[in-house]
Amino acid sequence: MTTFLKEVNDRIGGVPIQNCYHCRKCTAGCPIAFAMDYNPDAVIKMIQMGRREDVLKSSTIWLCASCETCVTRCPNEVDIARMMDVLREMAIESHVDAKEKNILKFHEAFLSSIKMRGRINEPMMIALYKLKSGDYFSDLGMGMSMFLKGKIKPISPRTKDMKSVRNIFKSTGK
């Protein structure tokens, strides 16, 4: 039987995460650790203990901003940032309820926008995010002020060869 640990390691395809000796340098340098339910080094331990559901349902995997400070400083070269990417992929594939739903909705809105036009049109992407998240009202004032200052352009150029962009999404989709 494949363990959770093996599955995560196989997907990372680099240094096995059990090389971690819990010096906690990753957690010490993590700018978002204060908001996470489990610290980055705790997630490594939880994976070793097979706590699949707790890990995939954690806020940590969504709050990680991928600043890569952890992996840059890890004395054992454990790729913690890549591990977080892998865990997000697994959470999505297993249809686990994301603890930080709006962050996942943001990623979905962002990627849908690329799929439609090959490039991000910011007002359209934000409108899509607001529809998906139901968060209609935050930043409206700021958006209006940016629009009035001419910072937001409603129209932006798109990629012409959309066939190739759509094919990328089709071929890499799971």
């Binding site: 700018p31 997000r88 490039r119 049109n121 910072k151 990629t159 990328i168 890499t172 989709g173």
Partner: protein, 282 residues
């Protein structure tokens, strides 16, 4: 010199000041930009955070297009720079993945072009001495802290920037303009990036910390080379600690006496002109 130019989506939208200032500064430095034909989005964090293969294939398409021109590729946006560099790294080092991505895109990857940031191009190829010669208005009194953030630097083996814990290229560039670069320990900290929409309160906390530390270092403004960092610094800082933010190229344009600065500055959320006026720079 002539380079391919990959602006990325932000530089055609809220990061317009960066696009426009990179263009005028490049022209003044004799760097000819040729926009990459029919480029597509790099996928940014959203692709690599949810689908690794997509995060290589999307920039892969633009990299392969750039290889036909066989010139260095200038990528001003730190996020695009990071994604293009990462994709190139994986395509070079993972043969199975490369074969698969080539199959999807329908063209061969050669790994023949350098993906470069304008900071590196200006610092290494033009040089601070040349910049100094071109300065017509020294930025006396301006005390910027250089904020490099995450995506220009990490992972170091992919980004290959100067020094990933204590980078200096932006600091030296600012000094060549006559500004007084302030030294600080938060050059490479994170602003929270795209959490700005889904988790605004986290970004406010991170940006406020940057502003407080910049003030403690004696700075009166903060400079960046990333449209995401710029948006967060410019719009998310609390009123009592906020400092004006600039793209480094905006300040270069100002010091070189180039056109456009006023139209960029008035689009900032926090208007930097009162500071510049108080220093007699406008």
């Amino acid at each position: 010199m002539k380079v391919s130019y990959y602006p990325g989506c932000s530089l055609h939208a809220t990061g317009r000041e960066y696009d426009e200032s990179v263009k005028v500064v490049s022209k003044a430095l004799d760097i000819e930009l040729e926009e990459l034909d029919d480029w597509s989005c790099c996928g940014a964090s959203s692709a690599h955070m949810t689908n690794f293969k997509l995060s290589v294939a999307l920039p892969g398409r633009s990299i392969i297009a750039a290889e036909k021109k066989a010139m260095d590729v200038m990528v001003p946006c730190a996020a695009c720079f990071n994604r293009l560099k990462s994709a190139q790294y994986h395509l070079k080092n993972n043969e199975t993945l490369r074969t698969e991505i080539e199959g999807i895109i329908g063209e061969k990857f050669k790994g023949s072009v350098n993906i470069r940031n304008p900071i590196d191009i200006i610092y290494e190829d033009i040089g601070v001495d040349r910049v100094k010669e071109l300065v017509t208005r020294r930025l006396e009194g301006l005390k910027p802290v250089s904020y490099y953030g995450c995506l220009l630097l990490r992972p170091p083996e992919i980004c290959c920037f100067d020094d990933y814990e204590n980078p200096y290229m932006l600091d030296r560039l600012m000094e060549s303009l006559g500004a007084e670069s302030r030294s600080w320990s938060y050059k490479t900290d994170c602003c929270g990036g795209n959490l700005t929409l889904g988790k605004t309160e986290i970004v406010v906390r991170l940006v406020d910390k940057l502003m407080v530390m910049a003030r403690e270092a004696g700075a009166n403004c903060i400079i960046t080379a990333c449209p995401v960092c710029f948006a967060n610094l410019d719009t998310r800082a609390s009123e009592d600690v906020a400092l004006p933010a600039f793209y480094f190229t905006e300040l270069m344009a100002m010091a070189l006496g180039l056109e456009g600065t006023n139209s960029w500055f008035k689009r900032h959320n926090m208007d930097p002109r009162p500071l510049l006026r108080s220093l007699g720079l406008v």
